[in-house]
């Protein structure tokens, strides 16, 4: 039975990398503290700065009373005993440019001299130019147009409307032109080849059926019966003098097993051999009026 061993580096093997990491962390802390100290000791005129955890040896110190013309205002915000000394949190505001020693604004609480206190120099810089003594002009400055949302909205709306108009009109115009150039055959045009085939006896069953449908449609349209159901329209057509005779003859020819008498197909369809679309349209009004009054329309 075999045991499993760790194949990773031993504790001694990992030591150098641990030390490097430890050193790095210590260096980071020191550098951060120094930077903090540096920052705590620098400020600009009128800007508040803080010094934290400042250990001052000797007895407790306090802030000296100052007047209105003091160049630096110091305040002790917290103090804690620190062995024989004290730890302080200071807050200071400089009102004049230059270097200032904060010790000048501190005093022992018990009235003893400040001997043994380390130097507490702070640097104060000015933000405004040295020759500017007047306040900044208070005239408001119009801010730059940072958003532009309204403009964007307007632009987007205009583009959208242009796109919509293009979709609505540009494509359709082309289609309409195409449709105009390729006009579908009229009912009269469609009728001609079937009438010709039926008249010369060469029509197939499908063509005969199509012919019947077209002739019914022809008269349905001519008598303006499109609004009626198909069976009622046929019944109406049957009542019409000319159309009724045609439909009955067609039915005898196409549907009766033994027509009582031979149907003269050529003669029956003769009026429809040469009917043109224009002639058909012209005759529509007259025939419809005739149908309404029970009078047969003129022959196509």
């Amino acid at each position: 039975m075999s045991s499993t061993r760790s194949t990773g580096p031993s504790m001694w093997g990992r030591m150098p990398s641990c030390l490097v990491r430890l050193f790095g962390a210590a260096l980071f802390v020191v550098a951060t503290a120094v930077a903090q100290v540096q920052n705590d000791r620098e400020s600009t005129v009128g800007m508040r700065a803080r010094i934290h955890e400042l250990v001052l040896p000797g007895s407790e110190v306090t802030v000296k009373p100052t007047g209105h013309d003091t160049p630096v205002v110091v305040r002790i915000t917290a103090k804690r005993p620190h062995g024989d000394a004290f730890r302080y949190d200071l807050e200071w505001v400089a009102l004049e440019v230059g270097s200032h020693d904060l010790r000048d604004y501190l005093a022992r609480k018990d009235g003893s001299p400040l001997e043994g206190l380390p130097e507490l120099t702070v640097e104060v810089a000015a933000v405004r130019p040295a020759d500017q003594t007047e306040p900044v002009d208070p005239t408001p400055i119009r801010p730059e147009n940072t958003g532009g949302y309204t403009v964007q909205l307007v632009v987007a709306t205009v583009i959208w409307i242009i796109g919509l108009l293009a979709i609505l009109f540009v494509g359709r115009k082309r289609k309409a032109v195409a449709r105009a150039t390729e006009a579908p055959p009229t009912l009269a045009d469609r009728l001609q080849p079937f009438v010709a085939a039926a008249a010369d006896g060469s029509a197939t069953d499908a063509e005969k059926a199509e012919l019947e449908r077209l002739l019914v449609a022809f008269w349905r349209e001519r008598l303006e019966l499109e609004g009626l159901k198909a069976d009622r329209a046929i019944a109406k057509i049957r009542e019409h003098d000319e159309a009724g005779q045609l439909v009955r003859q067609l039915e005898a020819w196409l549907h009766m097993p033994e027509p009582p008498q031979a149907v003269d197909v050529e003669g029956l369809l003769a009026p429809y051999r040469s009917v043109s679309a224009a002639e058909f349209d012209e005759s529509r009004v007259g025939v419809a009026a005739g149908a309404a009054t029970g009078v047969g329309g003129r022959r196509a």
């Binding site: 449908r213 077209l214 019914v216 046929i234 003859q249 039915e251 549907h255 009766m256």
Partner: protein, 334 residues
């Protein structure tokens, strides 16, 4: 002489008179429903089945009862309800305690004319049992197969309103009905005639009491047409001439339903068969021995409409089945 004026051949004369007698007799009971009577006769002559759809009170049941009494046919009526079982229709085997043997009890489906009232109120398994029997004309009870009597016709009714608690017949089952006729309200003149007839019904004495007579009591129970004549009429339907041009028209309509952009489901081949069968029967009823396109157009709504289904888009655009069908028929007649 034209086709319309041509006399029917001699062999159809007797049949035509028989059918006219039936129509007249039913018309004595039912007012203003000539088209429905014609559809019932078509269904009877072609062994198809008829579904009548209409709001309550349009004399659907009265019509079927009148038709059954006009001809010497056995008549059963089943009121479909939610708790109906297939065995309530088909029948079942029961134990005869005298002989200790199972005896077959045949259900009401063993009749010539079955009225399935409010068929959409029954559970799907009951509808399915009935529709299978309609299709096969045979019923299995226990291990035995029983042929249904001939002729066998189901006239079912359904109410298009009050859909709560109903089970809509799916298209596949609707297809079993050769015709689905939608009844409409009567014309004012016909409705007035209904009221006049109703006022004359009076009361019927029963023992010491009396009850108000209904239209069912007024159905004439004499001079029934014989089953033999009905069978002869059914045979004559088979002799009605169907031209090639008529078949072309039929195929055109059926194909247009299959390719129409507003239709999700077009007509089955059974629809085409039904159109031709029904047209032949209609031609015979109208005294012709040949069919005409007007038969096709007149029957298209009843034969085709329940076999097609609109697309979602067409429904969303507000189109209805009758509108689309009229569109197809108008295009066909163009």
């Amino acid at each position: 002489m034209t086709a319309q004026d041509a006399p029917a051949t001699a062999r159809f004369t007797e049949t035509r008179e028989f059918l006219a007698q039936i129509r007249n007799r039913v018309n004595k009971t039912v007012v203003g429903q000539e088209v429905v009577i014609e559809r019932a006769l078509i269904a009877m002559l072609t062994s198809g089945h008829l579904l009548l759809q209409g709001v309550p009170g349009l004399a659907k049941t009265l019509l079927v009862a009148a038709v059954s009494k006009a001809i010497d046919l056995q008549f059963s009526r089943i009121q479909f309800t939610i708790d109906l079982l297939p065995s309530d229709i088909l029948g079942s085997e029961i134990l005869d305690q005298k002989t200790n043997e199972f005896r077959t009890h045949k259900g009401p489906i063993f009749t010539n004319l079955l009225l399935a009232d409010e068929i959409n109120r029954a559970a799907p398994k009951v509808q399915s049992a009935l529709l299978e029997a309609m299709q096969e004309r045979r019923v299995t009870i226990g291990n035995e197969n029983y042929a249904l009597p001939a002729p066998f016709l189901v006239i079912a009714t359904q109410n298009p309103v009050e859909q709560a608690g109903t089970f809509e017949l799916p298209e596949a089952q609707l297809d079993r009905f050769m015709l689905l006729h939608r009844l409409e309200y009567l014309e004012p003149e016909d409705e007035k005639e209904v009221l006049r007839r109703n006022m004359k019904l009076g009361v019927r004495r029963e023992g010491k009491g009396a009850v108000a007579r209904t239209e069912f009591d007024a159905i004439e129970d004499t001079m029934r047409g014989s089953t033999e004549k009905l069978v002869q009429a059914m045979e004559d339907v088979q002799e009605v001439h169907v031209s090639e041009a008529f078949l072309e028209h039929t195929i055109e309509i059926v194909n247009r339903t299959r390719n129409h952009p507003k239709l999700e489901l077009g007509c089955s081949p059974r629809a085409g068969i039904s159109l031709v069968k029904a047209s032949r029967a209609r031609a015979l009823i109208h005294g012709r021995d040949y069919v005409l396109p007007e038969d096709l157009f007149a029957l298209a709504e009843d034969v085709v409409l329940h076999r097609i289904r609109l697309t979602y888009e067409a429904i969303a655009e507000g189109f209805t089945g009758p509108q689309v069908l009229q569109e197809i028929l108008s295009e066909t007649a163009q």
